[in-house]
């Protein structure tokens, strides 16, 4: 038996069955082999369903299952850590003709992937209150903030946060035709996407790139609601250190 042929036949239903696979009496057994093919497809489909619930809600269960099958056969996991499976799913959606009319779908998938990454990211402790107080007396424009490893930024030309919120339990659709940027924060164990005000995404990008507060604010441009963004970072326990 050759595992290359076995693996190919698992992922490609049109591939011939590997030779030498038989039933106990030595007869060919394609239906028996299909148990493995079905298990691979159904188990990985369940991983994608659990990882992209909003995408699934947007396209419907049956459509999602059919699309997941095409994806998993062309993009089987490259790691045994399935908690992060689906890294290529947003790009796949962006190039999948049957969903070409749902321009926001790939960005919703990116948001869900980022939420999952945040869920499994390293723990961290926020900067102590006393340290904050001490820093307020210094030149804060020159400070560089060290942000929590669970923080994620997802920028989109679509209202991704509003779409995501509308599909949460009890969520009410109130969609706006506006670009949105999501700041994902995980104060303890549950990551949550927050809608950033104008300029907020540029500001956070600056901080993530190691720019000072002053430089990041400049990147954000004028009327950025700095107090709101810093308030989110503090309440989300996302500032874990500073370097001066």
């Amino acid at each position: 038996m050759n595992q290359t042929l076995f693996a190919q036949a698992l992922l490609n239903p049109d591939a011939p069955l590997p030779p030498g696979l038989v039933d106990p009496e030595g007869r060919p057994a394609p239906k028996r082999f299909s148990v493995y093919r079905n298990t691979v497809a159904s188990s990985l489909t369940r991983v994608l369903e659990a990882g992209f619930p909003t995408v699934r809600a947007l396209v419907g269960d049956q459509f999602f299952a059919a699309m997941a099958l095409i994806f998993l056969r062309s993009h089987p996991p490259r790691s045994r850590m399935l908690m992060l499976y689906g890294q290529e799913f947003p790009a796949f959606l962006a190039g999948f003709p049957p969903v070409a009319h749902l321009g926001y779908l790939a960005d919703v998938a990116r948001l869900e992937l980022a939420l999952r990454e945040s869920y499994h990211a390293a723990d961290s402790a926020p900067l102590p209150e006393a340290e904050f107080q001490r820093l307020l007396g210094a030149d804060i424009a020159g400070l560089r903030l060290i942000l929590a490893p669970a923080l994620r930024l997802v920028r989109s030309a679509w209202p991704v946060v509003s779409i995501w919120e509308a599909h949460q339990p009890g969520g009410v659709p109130h969609l706006r035709a506006a670009a949105e940027a999501a700041l994902i924060l995980r104060p303890e164990f549950d990551p949550h996407p927050h809608r950033l005000p104008a300029g907020g995404a540029e500001f956070i990008s600056g901080l993530l790139a190691g720019q000072t507060l002053g430089e990041s604010l400049e990147l954000a441009g004028a009327p950025t609601d700095l107090a709101a963004v810093l308030g989110l970072l503090i309440s989300g326990r996302a500032i874990i250190g500073v370097s001066e």
């Binding site: 696979l21 082999f33 045994r80 669970a150």
Partner: protein, 282 residues
Amino acid sequence: MLDQTLNGLPAKPGVGYKPQHFAAIMADPGPVGWLEVHAENYMGAGGRPLAQLRHLAERFPISVHGVGLSIGGEGALDRDHLDRLKQLCDWLNPASFSEHLAWSTHDGAFLNDLLPLPYTPATLVRVCDHIDQVQDRLGRRMLLENPSTYIAFAETAMEEVAFLGEIARRTGCGLLLDVNNVHVSGTNQNYDPAAYLDAFPLHLVGEIHLGGHDEDQDDQGRRLLIDSHGTEVLDPVWALYAGVIRKAGPCPTLIEWDNDVPDWPVLAAEAARAARLLEPVA
């Protein structure tokens, strides 16, 4: 007598841990004396999964059960994955580590299933080599689990029990006896599960698995059992298990329920049924 030196798991029922049962287990574990986790679910950097596991490990012996090493694979073991496994075992110091006589990765693609291999002199050498590497890297003895299978290989030259026994002899590993898998494979491969168990080297068993299965039909319209882990343990499996315990004495026994996971009381009731079978011989 079962080999109790293989690991530190108590000869009690355990269950496959599911996060939705965390509060119930911490409040009242009932008959459950230990927990098993799938290694790959705890290889993240942090967050709730590792925090829960830390709490559970303070109260319960933990069995780490790998599903992704691909010990039966044609290719080399994935060094990065083995390193992550070592990191997890070093942090947790589990009472037991076990993996499967199966393969799941080929050419970098992880297929997320426990795939079968033929039993030949060549595959025996390869599996033993991989187990040597795992035991060397982890610095601990591992248990190897008998698989559930749906197809046979024309080239198979050894009985499964003899194959497992020879692996244990060459590598020094112990065995994990999945009684549901014996029932499933016996039905599917047309052999008597009771005879398989009579031949099984029970003195090498460090842990027993019990789980549910579904039923389908093969190409000839005959019964084909599917190892689904989505129901209660069925009566024929309980009967085989009772026979094993009568013969070998009490052994750490896991209830596996991975799909359509029930509420805690249902799972605890399954563990209680195993406890009743363990008690008279304890």
